[in-house]
Structures are given as C-alpha cells and as structure tokens.
C-alpha cells in the first residue's frame, strides 16, 4: 500500500490564507460585483484547501502509468475541485446576471436595505403601533353610548323578528 506524504506545502497554505482573507474583505462590500469577486476568491481558496486535503502531488493518477514505487496524486481531490469549479462557474454567471439586472433597474448594483424592515424599525423607535385597528377608531362617543346603540340594534332585531 502506498501511503501519500500528507504534510501540506506551506506555499499553498499561505495562498489559501491570502485568498480567503482578501475574499472575505470583498464579500463585506455592498456592491454585488465586489461581493462576486470576493466569492470567486474565497471559492478558489477553498478549492486549494481541497487540493491540500489530497496530500502532496505525485505522478498522474492513471493506473499503470506511474513508475513503480512513485506515489500518485490523489484523484478524488481533483475530481471534487473540478465539480466545485463548474458549480462556481454557474453561480458566478447567475450573480453577474443579477448584478446587471440590478444596475439596469436602479443604476447601481448595491444590495439595498429591506424597506419594510426599516419602516418597522422606525415605528418601533417612535413607539408607535405597527398597524391601526379600524374597529378601534375614535367614534366620538362614550362607551355607554356605544353600548346603548348596540342594545338598540339587538332590540330592533328582536322587534323585527317578532313582527
């Protein structure tokens, strides 16, 4: 059994760190295009992590091609990276389309705040109710008058039913 050398290469580890750090910085921006660039950078960082997880590079992972005793590279890590690159491609295309649409509609591609959320926050700051109750509107009468009115109505009903 050939056991691969598993100590990762320091250059790759540093590259992952730099890619992810720069990517996270861009992800925190408001503009969709920058967020997208951040996503691509972090994505590449993660792909490199996958490569690192596969151990050190060896000869091409095709049976029968490697000279005896020489370790092969891990093909599974490469397969996973390939898949994730394809997925990232599709998602990048979608986000670009969305950023373009956002620019088409609003002239910018910034991720805007939730309007409804801000409205409710404003109401909360003003200590106002989040809705008005139509039934509880001021009718200009006292409770006794309203009650009397309701009673009149029921009596009318009864009178109407009896006749």
């Amino acid at each position: 059994m050939v056991v691969l050398e598993n100590t990762p290469s320091a250059v790759l580890v540093v590259a992952v760190g730099v890619l992810v750090a720069v990517g996270v910085y861009l992800l925190l921006e408001r503009s969709l295009t920058r967020v997208l660039l951040g996503f691509i950078l972090v994505g590449n960082g993660v792909n490199l992590t996958l490569l690192l997880a596969g151990g050190r590079a060896g000869s091409a992972p095709i049976l029968g091609t490697a000279p005896d005793g020489e370790p092969m590279s891990d093909p599974l890590a490469q397969a996973m990276i390939l898949t994730s690159i394809v997925i990232a491609l599709a998602l990048t295309a979608f986000v670009l389309a969305m950023a373009y649409r956002s620019w088409q509609l609003g002239g910018h591609d910034e991720v805007a705040d939730d309007v409804e959320d801000r409205r409710i926050a404003r109401l909360a700051a003003a200590n106002a109710p989040s809705f008005t109750d139509l039934d509880a509107e001021e009718s200009g009468q006292t409770l006794d008058e309203e009650a009397a009115e309701v009673q009149d109505e029921t009596e009318d009903d009864r009178a109407g039913g009896g006749s």
Binding site: V46, A53, L91, F94, M98, E116
Partner: protein, 531 residues
C-alpha cells in the same frame, strides 16, 4: 446489478431531473409541460412512499454506477431519508398544482391584475431541478454529494426567487444569493477539512474514522458543518436573511421554500449530530441555547410585523428553534419528536403560505393594514387559514400540539436547568405564536372590511379551483397528521433509533464490514472491480 427495491432509490433524483430536461425542451407546449412535471412529481412521491415501506426492513442502499462505497457514491434511503422524501414529494406536488392554478406557471389572469411577469418557459424546469436537488440532499450518503445536492437546489431557488426580475425581487434575491453562497463556501471548506482529517467524504466511513481523529479537530469540523447547515436552516443568529428574502417571491415559491429548504438544513443537522458526531455534550448545550434564542427572537420579530407573509416568515424562523431543541437533547425521544415536528412543520408552514397566496388574490394585498372582513366575504378561506394556523400554534388535537408535547415531555424528563429553560421558552413561544396569528386573523378576517374588498369585481372574488383544491388538500393532510399520529410518531421514533444507534447506517453502506476499502488507491480499485 439486479432489480429490486433498491432500484427505486435513485428515482426521486432522476425522475425530476429528466422531466426538467424534457419540460425545457417542450417549453412551447404549456399543457405538455404541465403533464410531464405533474407526472414526474407524482411518480417521485409514489417511489418515495414505497421506499418508506422498504426502509422498515433496514436502510436501502444503492452504489451509484455499480462502484462499491467508498469509491462509488452511495445513495442511502433509511427511515429518516424516506420519510423526508415522501413528505417533500407530496408537498412539491401540491404546490406545483397550486402554482398551475394560480398561473405562475404560465397562464395570465383575465383582469391582468395578478399576472405574474414571468418567463413562462423556465418555471417548470427550475421547479423540477429544485425537487431533484432536495431529493439528492435527502438521499446522499456522501458529504460531497450532499454539497452538490445543496448547490442544485440553491441554483434552482435563486432562479425561482428572482422570477421576473422585478426590483423588489432582485433586492431580496441579492441578500438570499449572497448568504447562500457564503454558506456553500463554508460547507465546501468543511468537506475539504473532513477529507483532510479522515481521508474520505463517505458519511458512513467518516463516522467510522472520526473517533480516531484528534477531538479538537473533530470539534472544529463539527462546528464548521453546523455553521454551514445553520445558515440554511436559519438558526439564530444566522437567520436574518430569511424574513428579508422569502416574502417577495410568488406565493407558491415562498411556500415551497418555507416548507422544504430550511428543513433540508435541519435534516443535515440531524445527520451531523446523530451519525457523524453522536457524542458532543458541549455542542448540544450550545445548540440548546441557540434553539431558545431562535424561538424567542423569531417570534418577537413576528409580533412586530404587519404583513402576513413577513409575519409567517418570522414564525418559520421561530419554529426552527423547536426542531433544534429536539435534536440538541441528543436522546432518541428528542430526535423522534424533532423528526415528527419537521413533518408537521413542512406541511403546516407550506399550507399557510399557500393560504396567504389566496388571501392576497382575494383581498388584493398581504398587508394587515389593508385587509379585513374576509371571514364574511370568503368564509371558506377563513377556515383554510384557521386550521393550519391553530396547528402551528399547537392547539390540541392538531399535529403541532403532538410534536410540542413530545419535545416538552423529553425536555422535562432530561430535567437539566437548560432543558427546563427550553421548556418554558417553548411554551412562551407558542403563546406568542398564538398572539401573532390571532392578530393576523383579527385584522384580516374579522375586522370591518374596507370597502374595496366588499366591492371587488366578480372575477376577483372567485378564487380559482386550481388554487383552492391543493390548499384544501394540504389543510386536510395537516389534519390527517393528527389521525395517523400514532403510526407516524412510532415511525419517527424508529427513524431516530436507526439514525442514532451508530451502526445501522454504517453497516448498510458497508455490508461486508469495515475492511472493504480503506480509501487508499490500490485497495480501492480492487473492491471497485470486485463489485
């Protein structure tokens, strides 16, 4: 490879995917599209239901392509997966019928009022791809394939959420897309690190090897996975994206997202906590605290809303807390209650969003400010809203009550101060849920109707049968959950037991025992060829 019950396992993924291709090719023929997608989802549901029965005899495993695990990717349908598949299949079918009734899927309204500005052709294919992604996530026995399942369903959900590309949907979509991308990156890096630590991404094999991994590394892996799944499942403090992005989509899309997408996250958390990392009391305690925070913060958000869709989105976040509560108790009874609660919540939450779609059509708005008196002008609609709303709150004898009783009983049985706090929090959350939905009920159904609702033209007052039918069917299904609660709860208990015993899942994937394949290239080839 012989035919047998295991041949059914790939169907919930394959059928919707093939149908998606077919409907895309047939985008000019709306009627054919409808027939194809309905048939595909109905067949998916039937296949899942058969798997539900078959899984009683132990997990059904398929090595895709005939390559034995761990070289090939296994699809595993154990009780938990089969249950989730069946429920999601049925729900997706109902919502598809509803959306065809509503006209999201193509036809325009006579009045031109509720016409969705939709690129008609892509609705059916995208919806089917979403179904395939959800099924793939439920069936996957491989972490990387689970990631692919997530990506399939996310890509489809991006398209569905931004249907039509209106300003509001692009704004909501941006938040959703960016948050989802981040969670996917976290998940992918977790997969990479799991591979680095254990040399495999096969879930069963990872479970076998993790006990040998340094406990701190294992803890880091667990937290990273939970972080990724926690974003999908919308656990506080990772839940802020949900109420912001769901409400703007068309009603059936919101309904299926609310019902299923968060539950895929919850399902993954169940798998992580039971199969991969079964004994980690510290993480369980953290999850319990987060469950409490999710419940309370979610429901307090719901109380402040005056838009029904947003209100329901917040209750959705809040009730995810109940499921996490069950999972975090790390006992069979707790997990069983969580599984039952997931089934209940998928059904009820989807139904409520569909009803709100009907309310929007009848009342012309989802704002409580502008609705009113619907109980008088549309009494049937009032019943359709009332029953699932009460089930969500947990009024006996509806299914929400049964799920909550299971959770509270187990919380009281464990009896640590933290679980007692959760029990109190659950009751408080239920009361506040009652307050929130009763507020919605009073405002939308009972108060004096504004003139424009009474005086709407006949076209608007007649709700399409295609929308009411599936909604009524789901309301009936929600009530039926109470009727079949005995067998269903017992099934959930058995599902929790097989998921938690730590051997059933692994043995099913590696029937020849652990010696079959060690992940190293030379042995792997042999076992692959031998199968």
């Amino acid at each position: 490879m012989s035919w047998g019950v295991h041949s059914l396992v790939p169907l919930p993924v394959l059928l919707p995917l093939f149908a998606a291709g077919l409907t895309l090719a047939l985008h000019r023929y709306t009627r054919v599209q409808r027939i194809v997608s309905t048939t595909a989802l109905a067949a998916t549901t039937v296949a899942s239901a058969l798997l539900l029965v078959a899984a009683e005899g132990g997990p059904v495993v398929v090595d895709v392509g005939g390559w034995a695990a761990p070289v090939g990717i296994p699809l595993v349908a154990d009780r938990l997966s089969a249950l989730m598949l069946t429920v999601s299949g049925a729900i997706m079918l109902c919502v598809l019928l509803y959306s065809m009734g509503q006209g999201v899927a193509g036809e325009s309204d006579v009045e031109g009022r509720a016409v969705e500005v939709v690129p008609v052709a892509i609705y059916h294919p995208t919806y089917l791809v979403l179904a395939a992604g959800v099924s793939n996530a439920f069936l996957s026995g491989d972490l990387f394939n689970l990631y692919v399942g997530f990506e399939i369903l996310l890509a489809a959900s991006f398209v569905l959420l931004t249907l039509g590309g209106t300003g509001e949907r692009i704004r909501a979509g941006s938040v959703y897309v960016v948050v989802s991308l981040v969670s996917s990156l976290l998940f992918l890096s977790a997969v990479a690190l799991v591979y680095a630590a254990t040399g495999t991404v096969n879930i069963a094999q990872v479970a076998q090897r993790l006990p040998d991994v340094d406990p701190t590394v294992s803890l880091a892996l667990q937290l990273l996975l939970l972080l990724a799944f926690g974003i999908k499942a919308a656990i506080f403090p990772l839940s802020a994206w949900l109420p912001d992005s769901y409400p703007t989509a068309p009603a059936p899309v919101t309904a299926v997202f609310a019902g299923l997408l968060t539950k895929v996250g919850v399902y993954s958390i169940i798998r992580t906590q039971t199969v991969l990392f079964p004994h980690e009391p510290v993480v369980d305690r953290v999850l319990l605290v987060l469950a409490l925070a999710t419940m309370l913060v979610g429901i307090l958000g719901a109380v402040a809303q005056d838009d029904v869709k947003r209100l329901l989105s917040f209750t959705l976040v809040s009730h995810i807390g109940f499921m996490i509560f069950g999972i975090a108790m790390a006992s069979e009874a707790g997990t069983a209650a969580a599984i039952f609660y997931v089934v209940h919540h998928i059904t009820v939450q989807t139904t409520l969003f569909l009803v709100v779609g009907l309310v929007e059509r009848r009342g012309g708005s989802t704002s409580l400010e502008r609705l009113g008196g619907l109980a008088r002008v549309a009494p049937g609609l009032a019943i359709l809203f009332f029953v699932p709303a009460m089930s969500l709150v947990g009024i006996p004898p509806l299914s929400g009550f049964l799920g909550k009783v299971g959770l509270l009983t187990e919380g009281a049985r464990i009896g640590t101060p933290l679980t007692w706090a959760l029990v109190v929090g659950s009751v408080l959350t239920s009361l506040l849920t009652l307050y929130a939905v009763v507020k919605a009920w009073n405002k939308a159904f009972w108060q004096t109707p504004p003139d424009e609702i009474v005086q709407r033209s006949d076209d608007a007052t007649r709700l399409p049968r295609g929308m009411v039918g599936p909604t009524a069917a789901l309301v009936a299904a929600g009530v039926a959950l109470t009727v079949v609660a005995g067998p269903l709860y017992a099934y959930a208990e058995r599902a929790a037991a097989t998921s938690m015993d730590g051997t059933t899942y692994v043995d099913a994937v590696f029937p020849g025992g652990a010696e079959r394949g060690t992940g190293h290239s030379d042995e792997v080839t042999e076992s692959g060829e031998g199968s």
